[in-house]
Each structure stands twice: as C-alpha cells, then as structure tokens.
C-alpha cells in the first residue's frame, strides 16, 4: 500500500489497544538488551583476528602538505598497513576527500591512516609519522571570509560564499509589497543576534566494524549510523562499485542527534584496510576526534527586522542569516542547513511578506552540520527574542503579542508551507496558565523572571536523500507465517529515540497482536527495504506511515478471506485481541481466531504466505533548494517552552526551578516516550543555552573533551512538567507528529527571556553561562539588576 492507500482498513481510534494508553501492553522492545548490557553497538563487535585503524589529523587550519614520511611507522612491529591520500585517493563529493592529498583546510583533517594489531601499536605508529606542511593564511571569521578578496578556504578558487549554499526567499500573500508593509508599520523591530558552536557529543562515539570477503567481493559493515542506505550508497561511490557489494548493518546506536547521518572517513578507511588485510577492522573515534571532525551545530550571525501593526501583528519580516559552515560542505547535504534556516525564519507566525536570506560561509574551522533541530535552535533563538523585545517596546503583553500572529490551521505561508493541524495557540495559552502568568507577571522580585518561547518545526521532510522512485522514503514489509507469527522488515533507523519500538507497536496495533508477537528483522541494507534515515524528524511520520501500510496490507488480505467466508464486507471486519471480528449490523457475533484466519487465508491462496508491503513519501518539486516556495513537510509541529528562574545578579548564576513544555505532536503514540523526548529536549536545550560551548583559538578547539566541555548533569536539571494532549494530525500515523527534535528549539529563548525579565539585560548572544550573564549585567547596568543587587546588600 502506498501513500494514497484506501484507509478503510486502518484501525479506528476507538479500537486502539496500544496507542497512547497509559495502562497498555506497550513495551520497549530493546529494554532487556539495554539494561543487561547485551545490546551490541558497532564498537562492541570484535574477532580474535581483528585489527584496528586510527588516523593522523592535520594540526594546522590551512596548509599545503609538502611531504609525508611513514617509513618509521611501517617498520614498527604490529603495523599492518598505512594509507595516505595518494594510496587511497577517494573523494566522495566535490570538496571532501577521505584522506586529504594536497591542502588541509581545518585542524582535524584526516591525513594518514594506520592499521595495526591493537590500539597501542596504532597510536605508537601515528607518533612515528612525519608530515611536513607549508602553512597558508587561514580565515576564521565568517564576516571576514565573506568579503571580496578574502582568503580562499577551499583553495579551488571558489568564492567562500557564492559557490556554497545560499537560500533567498522573497514572497508575499495577497500581492502585498514588503516595502509598503514596512512603511506602514506602527513599529519596526530590528535586532542582531549571534549563536555559538556546540557538538552533538553522543556518549557512543562513531564506530565501524568492517569485514571483507574476497570470494564474494563483499563488505559487511557494522556502523553506528542513522542513514545506512546513505552509507551503502557513498561506499559504492567511493569504491566505485555497485551497492550490492556493501552490506551495511545498523546495530544499536548510542545516540546521534544528527551526527550519525554522515558517512565518516573512519568507515571508508576501515573498509579499505579490511580489503587490503583480509582481517576484520574496527575503527572507533576518540572523543577528541568526535568533537573535531563530526560537524557540530553551525554558529549563526543573524540580522532581522520585523514590521508590526498597531496591535503587534507581524506584517513583514526581513532577515539575513550567516552560517559559519567551517571548511566543508559546499556541495553536499549542507543545502539543507540554509534552506531549513529560511523555513524557520518564516515560522511560527503568520507573516504575509518575507525577504529571507541565508548564506553558508566557509571558514578554516571544523565543519558545521546537522544537529538536533537542524538550524532551528539558532534561528528560533533570534526570532523569539526579537518578538519579546518588540512586544515590550510596544507595551503589549508577550503572550498576547505572540497569540496575535500565531500560526493556525489552514495558513499558507509565502514560503510555501501549508499548515494542517496546528495547536500553537493552545500551547501558548497552556504555558501561560501553567506559569500563572497573569497573576504573577507584575509581582516578581528583582532577579526573578518567567520566560516563554514559541517555535515550530517540520514533521518529516521532503528529501529522501537518495534518488528514489516517487521520492519514496521508506519501504516496509510485513510477513505473516502460517503459524500466525509476524515478521516486520523495516530499516526505520533507531538511534535511541525508540524507532524499533514504535514500528513494532504500529504493526501489533493494526494486527490486534501483542508486541512480543511481532518480530523485527535485524535492520540492514540487505535484509529490509529502503529507509532514508533518522533525520528531518521523519521516522515516526514517514516511516511509521509506511510500516502501518505494510501491516494494513497484510490485514486486508486476511480480512478479505474471512469476509468472503462470512459473506460480509471486508472493511466492516477488523482484528481485535487475536480475533477477527465483524462490526456489520447483525454480524457482531462472528469471530475467528487470528491463527485460524491466517491458516485459512494461506490455504485459499495455494499456500502462499501473507505478505503486506507499505511505502510512504512526501513529494515536492525540490524547489525549496532553489529558494522557491515549497511545502517542505507533510505536517508541522508547534511548541511553547516556559521557565521560571532566579538570577544571582552578583555571580550571574541562574537557578531554574520549573520548566514547562507544551508540545503539539498530534496524537502521542506512547505517552512515556513522548515525555522522555521532551525531557531530553529540555536537557539538550539547556546545555545549548547555558553550559556547552566549543572554544576555538586559531581554528583549534581548546576543549574537545568531556572535562572542559561542560555538559548538563543529573544535578543541573530543573523540575519539568509537560503537556501534549492536542488534536491528532490528519495524515500522521494514528494522528502522530514529530517529537524530540524541534522541541529543543524553544528552550534557549525561553531561558533568555526569563533572564531578561529577571535582570533587564538585553540578550543577543549565546551561551548564557554565569560569566556572560555577569558581564552583560556589568556592561548594561539595567535598572532591574541594579535593584536586585541593592536588595542583596
């Protein structure tokens, strides 16, 4: 069944047994493995004859490689192979080489790879390699890099920004003219904002375990990945061989947050050494490599202007956003970064005239990439603070101010986005009610504040990454054996968010079975159909819809058989708790056990198994990548984050005692999983806002380790309350929408707005750690903070 399948066989909400029931038999399918240590992650695979691989990275931000001397390393006992860019000249995109040959462009560029019998020998070998560089002048500041005549980062003669991704969307509804809208505005809010660099830092580093079979000419690759078909595709491009040579297996993945939708150099190097040595090869990145080379969140520089009517309504908006892209990404998936950053700028308000420009600029720093809430965390920070300041300047209550322009169902944005289900206004009102805003807003002590932030995000994406028929993003198969046993063949990528569990639950719900009766086949590129990956908040919505259709396709065949026997219409039947039943008037007493129905169905079909197939896509014309209007996602989600905090104005320390999060995710499939995603989002957003910052000096990271890169611990987390009871989405599986990615975006602005209320400081930059807050108080000396200081005396 495809996207346009006849939905008459779909489970009706009144018959849900698993979906969103507090007391249901909904279980976590990975639970036992994960609490016992039996769950195997890519770095847990090993063999007695296994070798390991490691890489020597560039210590300088820009320079020519003059010479590489590996002779001393080659002589070291236990070294089994050495590769430089010359021996392994693989380039997977125009700008990215697996091992750099001519010119290094950032600290951390991989230059030489070593294969050895163990980690100690490999590390010792790296010490013995001598690489001579001719240093070249680097550029680190995107504002410098964007100037004419600036240092050429790539060294190919490209201009640092015109060649790379740019997205410029200009448009309006009802023939409105943006200049006229600005001219007639009662108030124009202008702001400049800046965000910093952070890293995903999943606790499991990227790991590859690769085996090569010379007779079959086939690799088996266990990869910590959220895009296994991407791995397979790029390996085939890199090695210039058909995809059928690469069996990529996605084992348990220890968190990704965007970092594992790549195809890291380590994977190619492990595969090449496995081919050359005929031994299995393991390559696990160190924590430092993870920070240096796995493309963290883009720093942004944002200028924005919004025009407001007398009542505060947003009339028009102009932005110019500069993304610090680091040294790479001119020619691959980084188009998404600029394109999405424009979509977020058009959200979550009705804005009838827009002029939104995003440019991704190259610098000689670590590459920027996708990270949880891809560019939304940065853009929405600026958006929301700008709304807050505009509301204040116009003397309008900030909740009222947001409600006046808030998106609603049915709105068509000039950016092309079509809003279907939308409970944004409800989330704003719920947050205000929870915080007792009306009652408390005028009675805060100096140093005390409440902040709100409203944001929107996509639920699914238009991009299937690879070229697929109809832009299909997931193909799933459900197989029912003669004994009633059900197998689900699905590659929907689980990175810890619970995709395996939700897919099994969807099949069990549709077929009226318990979850332990549905067996998920070990996901891999050979064992199940295409799934484009865990990115763009697409897994539950797009993958879940495909899996649901596969289950319903199998169900339909069984119901058709039973209905014919009973002489009733098949779609009046369903399967509830292991029984086929009929809802047709006068036939309510009919029932047949599941196993009997399956056996009978197969018998009538000459013994053929019952196999259901399902697929799903959200198709667009790809115009969004050209900056043209296009409806990027099949649905959108809306959130309001709110917090109450106190600021110690003497030290700049903040104490958040309550965080409230209202999220319109449609119908929650599993309440605990949604709650967990929201708690994780608040954790992640709090880290971004107040704790984490990758510091660079001369392009080199100063704190690429867990000691100096401060992450939120169990002691730092505030008390959290969540709400997510909003109407189901018409198209999501069982009415579900996104949760857990875009939900990181409102955290930083909510905290910033609360700090602003508590102290009066005008915030335009992240992070908001005590030092920055203290500095802003000292520099700005706002009345409120001064009053709070006085009260402390």
């Amino acid at each position: 069944m495809n996207r346009f399948a006849d939905k008459e066989y779909f489970r009706k909400p009144e018959d849900f047994r698993l979906i969103s029931k507090d007391e249901s038999k909904y279980v976590h399918v990975d639970a036992y493995e994960k609490v016992t240590g039996k769950a195997k992650y890519a770095g847990d695979f090993m063999a007695p004859d296994m070798y390991v691989a490691k890489v020597l990275h560039s210590p300088i931000p820009k320079g020519k490689i003059l010479s590489i001397d590996t002779s001393r390393a080659e002589a070291l006992p236990g070294v089994k192979g050495i590769l430089t860019g010359k021996d392994f000249p693989i380039r997977i995109t125009e700008d990215i080489e697996i091992l750099v040959q001519g010119q290094v462009r950032m600290v951390g560029d991989p230059v030489v790879a070593v294969c050895a019998i163990n980690e100690e020998v490999a590390e010792a070998a790296l010490e013995l390699i001598d690489v001579q560089y001719e240093p070249l002048t680097p550029v680190f500041d995107p504002l410098e890099s964007i100037k004419d005549g600036a240092v050429d980062v790539q060294g190919y003669g490209y201009n640092n920004h015109n060649f790379g991704p740019i997205c410029h969307q200009v448009g309006s509804n009802d023939g409105k003219d943006i200049d006229e809208e600005f001219a007639k505005a009662a108030y124009v809010s202008v702001g400049d904002y800046k965000t910093h660099r952070i890293q995903h830092a999943p606790i499991e580093p990227h790991a590859t375990y690769a085996e090569y079979d010379p007779e079959k000419v086939q690799w088996t690759v266990y990869q910590s990945t959220t895009m296994s078909f991407g791995d397979q595709h790029w390996l085939s491009v890199g090695f210039n061989m058909d995809e059928s040579h690469f069996h990529v297996i996605r084992p348990y993945v220890g968190g990704a947050f965007g970092s594992k939708s790549n195809w890291p150099y380590s994977e190619f190097i492990a595969c090449e050494f496995a081919r050359r040595t005929l031994h299995p090869v393991r390559f696990v990145l160190t924590r430092e490599e993870e920070f240096q080379t796995m493309h963290g969140r883009h720093p942004f520089i944002i200028h924005l202007e919004t025009a407001h009517a007398e009542n505060g309504k947003v009339l028009a908006k102009k932005t110019s956003q500069i993304l610090d892209g680091g040294a790479y990404g001119v020619s691959h998936s980084q188009y998404a970064a600029v394109n999405l950053s424009v979509i977020w700028a058009a959200f979550p308000y009705k804005i009838d005239a827009i002029d939104l420009l995003s440019r991704r600029v190259l610098t000689n720093t670590a590459e920027g990439g996708a990270m949880r809430g891809y560019t939304a965390c940065q853009v929405q920070f600026a958006n929301d603070l700008n709304m807050q300041y505009a509301a204040e300047a116009m003397g309008i209550d900030p909740i009222e101010f947001r409600l006046t322009s808030a998106l609603e169902s049915g709105y068509h944005s000039p950016a092309g986005l079509i809003v279907t289900s939308c409970a944004f206004k409800d989330t704003l009102r719920d947050a205000a009610a929870f915080m007792r805003w009306e009652e408390r807003k005028n009675s805060m002590k100096p140093g005390e504040g409440i902040g709100f932030a409203g944001t929107a995000f996509v639920s699914g994406t238009a991009s299937p990454v690879l070229n697929s028929p109809n832009q299909v993003q997931t193909n799933a198969t459900v197989r029912v054996a003669f004994n009633g046993q059900v197998s689900l063949y699905s590659n929907c990528h689980d990175n810890g968010q619970g995709a395996d569990t939700v897919m099994v639950a969807i099949v069990a719900e549709e077929l009226g079975l318990d979850m332990d009766e549905v067996k998920l086949i070990q996901p891999s590129t050979f064992h199940a159909g295409y799934d484009s990956g865990a990115y763009g908040s697409r897994v539950t919505f797009l993958g879940g819809n495909a899996v649901r259709r596969a289950a319903v396709d199998a169900k339909r065949q069984i119901l058709e058989y039973v209905a014919a026997k009973w002489d009733v219409e098949p779609h009046t039947c369903d399967i509830i708790d292991h029984q086929v039943i009929c809802r047709d008037l006068g036939h309510e007493n009919l029932s047949m056990p599941w196993k009997q129905a399956v056996f009978g169905c197969m018998t009538t079909h000459g013994g053929d198994e019952v196999v259901g197939v399902g697929s799903y896509y959200h198709r667009t014309n790809n115009q969004q990548f050209q900056g043209k209007p296009s409806n990027y996602a099949p649905s959108y989600v809306f959130s309001t984050g709110a917090c109450h905090l106190n600021v110690d104005v003497e030290t700049g320390e903040i104490d958040i005692d309550e965080f409230f999060f209202a999220h319109d995710c449609g119908q929650a499939l599993n309440r605990r999983a949604v709650e967990a995603q929201l708690e994780g989002s608040i954790y992640s957003g709090l880290g971004y806002a107040c704790y984490e910052e990758l510091k660079l000096r001369d392009g080199k990271m100063l704190n690429p380790n867990f000691r100096d890169y401060r992450m939120v611990t169990a002691l730092d987390m505030p008390h959290i309350t969540t709400k997510f009871d909003y109407p189901p989405d018409p198209e999501g599986p069982f009415g579900a929408k996104e949760c857990g990615e875009g939900t990181t975006a409102p955290i930083a602005p909510a905290i910033a707005n609360a700090i602003h209320m508590a102290t009066g400081i005008h915030i335009t930059e992240l992070p908001l750690d005590p030092e920055h807050i203290w500095r802003m108080i000292q520099e700005q000396k706002p009345e409120k903070a001064m009053a709070a200081l006085k009260a402390m005396e």
Partner: protein, 161 residues
Amino acid sequence: MKKILTFTLNGEKTEVICEPNRSLLDLLRDDLGLTGTKKGCEEAECGACTVLLDGRPVNSCATLAVECEGHDVVTIEGIARNGELHPIQKQFIEKWAFQCGYCTPGMIMSAKALLDHNPHPTETEIREAIEGNLCRCTGYAKIVEAIAAAAAEMNWEAENA
C-alpha cells in the same frame, strides 16, 4: 611484562594474562568479551564504563587491570541472578529510564553502588550518585525515578523477606 591476574569477576574466580598498562575497561571488553561496560571518553569523565570494585563505583577506563589483583569486580553482566533481573534493571524498564541505552550499564552500576550503601536515598542523593554518569538522551528525570522506585522495591523485599 605480562602477568597473570587473579580476581573475582561477577562472583567467579577469574585468571587472565594481562599487560601491566591494560585498563580494566579494555581487559573487560576486549580480552573477556564483556562489552556491556561501555567506552564513552576514556578520560574518566562520562561514567559509561562504571563497574563496582569491592562494591565501590569506579571508572574502569581509569583503573589499571592489575590493581584488581585479589579484588572483587562486578559488571552489568553480573547483577541479574538466575535469569531474574536486578530490581534496578526492572525499574529502568518499567520507567523507560533509557533511550539509546549507551549510558545505561554505567548508570545502573552507579545506582547499585548507591542503594547497596544507602537504601533510603533522597532525590538529591540519587542525583549526586549519578552526577558522574553523563546521559545525552534522557534529561535524567526517568533515571532518577527508576532508582527511587528500585530503592522502594528493594526495601519492600527486605522488609518482607
């Protein structure tokens, strides 16, 4: 120089040949195949590699294997008994106290060390006990809940034994 190391591992006397500079983590994972103990940083900062050494939680990445000579080591593989999960494991399942699960073994070992010494911890004591265990997924709320529930279950069992 390699030496023979003798220690108790998950209740069993174990003898293994070991390099003097081998970390307990690498010994467990690569030499003994006990990959339930995870490697997250190798710099004693993330807690993914937490095991119990004579009942105390230690970062096995920062513990030399040879230091365990004659001592008692317990890993995540050693806390279920006769096929029955430890109450902390059960409550981690019950409360959905994990997502990717990579921090989970270390988290459970830190929780076990806490509850073995302090059967009635306050919420703050629970949070302090797992402060050295970084989790990038959950926001810790469900982990804290699970540990508190496990404490209650263990106390109930002790009182009704």
